[in-house]
C-alpha cells in the first residue's frame, strides 16, 4: 500500500512537471538564478579567504641582531620564541645569508658594493623573521621581544632592533581590514541566501497557487493530505535537481572565463581550478540546496490549501 502510493505520487509528480511545462520552466529558471547566487558566494568566499590568507602571510616581524651576536645565542632565542602560543613560524637568516641577499639586491649598484668591500668585514647581523598566527598577535610578540627574557644570561642585549614599531600602523590596519571584511562577508552571505530562498519560495508558491483549484478537487475526492502533497513535493525536488544541474553546467564556462581574470588580479588563486578541485563539494552544496529549497517550499505552499 505504502509502496503503491509512493509509486503513484512519483509518477504523478513527474507527469505534472512535464505537463505544466511553462510553469516548471520558469520555476527552474528562477531557481537557477538563486543557485547561481549561492554558488557565487562559495567562490567569492574562497577568493576572499585566499587573498586574506596570503596578505596575512606577507606580514611578519623582523628581529635584527647585532653583528657581534653569536649564532648559538640567536638560535637559542629562536627556540624560546618558537614555543610562544601566538607564533606560527620563525625563520632564521644567518649573517652570511643576509650579506648574500644584500649583494644580490644591489648587484647593479657598484658604489654600494664597493663600499661594502672596503669594510672588509660582514657588517650585517643575523635576522629572525617571525610569523604570528593572527595579525592581532604581533603586539604581544613584540612585547615579549622587548622584555628582559630575551637578554642573555649575563644580562647582555644582542638585539639591535625589532621592526614591529615601524610596521605597527600597517599591521594594525591590516588586521582590522581582515576582521571587518570577514564580518561583512558573513552579513552579505546571509542576506544573499535569504533573498535566494525568498525568491524561490515565492515562485513555487505561485506555481502551486495556480493549482489551488486542483487541490480542492483532490480533497473533495477524498485524497489524504499526504497523497495530495506528494506530487507537489516531487515537483519541487525536480525543480531543484534540474536547476542544480543547469547551475553546475553554467559555472563551467563562467569560471573558465573568470579564472584568467582572477589569476591575474588576486594572489595565486584560479577560480576555474578551484571549481574543478572542489567540484564534489560544490556539486553537493548546490544540488542539496536546490532540492531542499524545492521540497520545503512545496511542502509549505501546499499546506495553505489543505486547511
Amino acid at each position: 500500500m505504502l509502496w503503491i502510493n509512493f509509486k503513484r505520487i512519483l509518477k504523478s509528480g513527474f507527469f505534472s512537471f512535464w505537463r505544466n511545462g511553462f510553469v516548471s520552466l520558469s520555476s527552474v529558471f528562477v531557481m537557477v538564478v538563486a543557485l547561481l547566487v549561492l554558488g557565487s558566494i562559495i567562490f567569492t568566499s574562497a577568493l576572499l579567504n585566499t587573498t586574506l590568507a596570503s596578505l596575512q602571510d606577507k606580514v611578519d616581524v623582523n628581529v635584527y641582531f647585532l653583528s657581534s651576536a653569536s649564532e648559538p645565542d640567536v638560535l637559542a632565542l629562536k627556540q624560546k620564541i618558537e614555543v610562544l602560543a601566538e607564533v606560527k613560524a620563525v625563520e632564521y637568516e644567518s649573517r652570511d645569508q643576509v650579506l648574500a641577499e644584500f649583494t644580490e639586491r644591489h648587484s647593479n649598484d657598484s658604489t654600494t658594493l664597493q663600499a661594502l668591500e672596503e669594510l672588509g668585514d660582514n657588517p650585517f647581523g643575523a635576522v629572525l623573521n617571525i610569523k604570528a598566527k593572527e595579525p592581532s598577535q604581533y603586539e604581544s610578540v613584540s612585547r615579549f621581544l622587548e622584555s628582559d627574557s630575551v637578554l642573555l644570561s649575563d644580562g647582555q642585549n644582542i638585539i639591535e632592533k625589532v621592526n614591529y614599531n615601524q610596521n605597527k600602523v600597517v599591521i594594525e590596519k591590516l588586521s582590522s581590514i581582515i576582521t571587518s571584511s570577514q564580518r561583512i562577508g558573513l552579513i552579505v552571505t546571509i542576506v544573499l541566501i535569504f533573498i535566494a530562498v525568498l525568491i524561490t519560495f515565492n515562485t513555487i508558491r505561485l506555481a502551486i497557487y495556480i493549482a489551488r483549484e486542483e487541490i480542492s478537487v483532490m480533497r473533495l475526492v477524498g485524497a489524504s493530505p499526504m497523497y495530495i502533497r506528494g506530487p507537489f513535493i516531487v515537483g519541487g525536488i525536480l525543480y531543484g535537481v534540474i536547476a542544480g544541474i543547469i547551475t553546475l553546467v553554467l559555472f563551467y564556462p563562467l569560471t573558465a572565463w573568470l579564472g584568467k581574470e582572477t589569476a591575474n588580479f588576486f594572489v595565486n588563486i584560479n577560480i576555474f581550478d578551484y571549481y574543478i578541485h572542489n567540484f564534489g563539494y560544490i556539486f553537493m552544496v548546490v544540488l542539496a540546496s536546490g532540492v531542499a529549497m524545492g521540497a520545503i517550499s512545496s511542502f509549505l505552499a501546499v499546506r495553505r490549501y489543505l486547511k
Binding site: I4, R8, S216, V221
Partner: protein, 226 residues
C-alpha cells in the same frame, strides 16, 4: 441515512444562510432541492460535505455527526460521497482516464481494479472513446459526464449533484439527468439541486423547496413551484 437536525448557519456578517433546517434522506432516494439563488442550497450541500460548520444543529450520516469526524474518518467519508459540480472541476492536467483513476488511487484501490473499472464506468456515461482526451478537448456535456463517472467510480452511497446542468444546453441537460436516473435505478442515492423547472417536472421524484434559508415545501413526487 442522512439526517439534518435543526441546522442553522449564520455568517460572520450576520447574514443568515440556513435557519432551522430539518429533513432526512432515505437510502436509494432521488431527492431534488430547488430554490432561488441565495436560498441556501449551496450552503446546505457544503454542510453535508463538511466544508462548512453549522452555527447550530448537527448533520448525521449513518448516526455519525459528520462535523465531529477525525481527519482520516473525514477522508473515508468523502470517498463514500460522489460530488458533481456545475463547473465540472476536473483536474486540467490529467486525461479523462487519469481523472477517474485519481479518485480510485486516492481511495487506495489496486492498479488492476483501476484498469478494469475506469473503462467500464466511462462506457456507462457513454464516453469510452474519449478516454485519453484532456478536459480542454471536451465539450461541456462531456466534461460533466466525466465528472459523473468520477463521482460514481468508487461506488459511493450517495451522489451529490450541485446544479450539474447549469452550464449545459437542453439536450445535454436531458442526457445528464438520464444518467443520474440510471445511477439511482442501480441503487445509489442521488441528491440534486437545480434551477431547471423542466428537469424537476419530468423527474416526478421528491422535491424540497427552499426560500430564505428555510424549507417551505417537501413533496413526494413534487413539482417546481416557486
Amino acid at each position: 441515512m442522512i439526517y439534518f437536525d435543526n441546522v442553522s448557519k449564520t455568517y460572520a456578517d450576520n447574514s443568515v444562510a440556513l435557519e432551522g433546517v430539518t429533513f432526512s434522506i432515505e437510502p436509494k432516494e432521488f431527492i431534488s432541492i430547488v430554490g432561488h439563488s441565495g436560498a441556501g442550497k449551496s450552503t446546505l450541500l457544503k454542510m453535508l460535505l463538511a466544508e462548512e460548520q453549522p452555527s447550530e444543529g448537527s448533520v448525521f450520516y449513518e448516526s455519525k455527526n459528520i462535523h465531529k469526524l477525525k481527519k482520516n474518518e473525514m477522508n473515508e467519508f468523502r470517498r463514500s460521497i460522489g460530488v458533481v459540480f456545475q463547473d465540472f472541476r476536473l483536474l486540467p492536467n490529467k486525461t479523462v482516464y487519469e481523472n477517474i483513476a485519481f479518485a480510485m488511487e486516492a481511495a487506495g484501490k489496486p492498479d488492476d481494479e483501476i484498469e478494469g473499472d475506469v473503462p467500464h464506468v466511462l462506457d456507462l456515461v457513454d464516453l469510452g472513446h474519449k478516454i485519453w482526451a484532456f478536459p480542454h478537448e471536451l465539450s461541456g456535456g462531456e466534461k460533466q459526464r466525466v465528472a459523473i463517472a468520477r463521482a460514481i467510480v468508487n461506488q459511493p452511497d450517495i451522489i451529490i449533484a450541485d446544479e450539474p446542468t447549469g452550464n449545459l444546453d437542453p439536450i445535454n441537460t436531458y442526457d445528464i439527468v438520464q444518467i443520474l436516473k440510471k445511477i439511482n435505478d442501480l441503487g445509489t442515492t442521488v441528491l440534486l439541486t437545480t434551477h431547471n423547472k423542466g428537469v424537476i417536472d419530468s423527474l416526478g421524484k421528491r422535491v424540497i423547496t427552499m426560500v430564505d434559508g428555510k424549507i417551505v415545501r417537501d413533496d413526494k413526487e413534487g413539482r417546481y413551484i416557486l
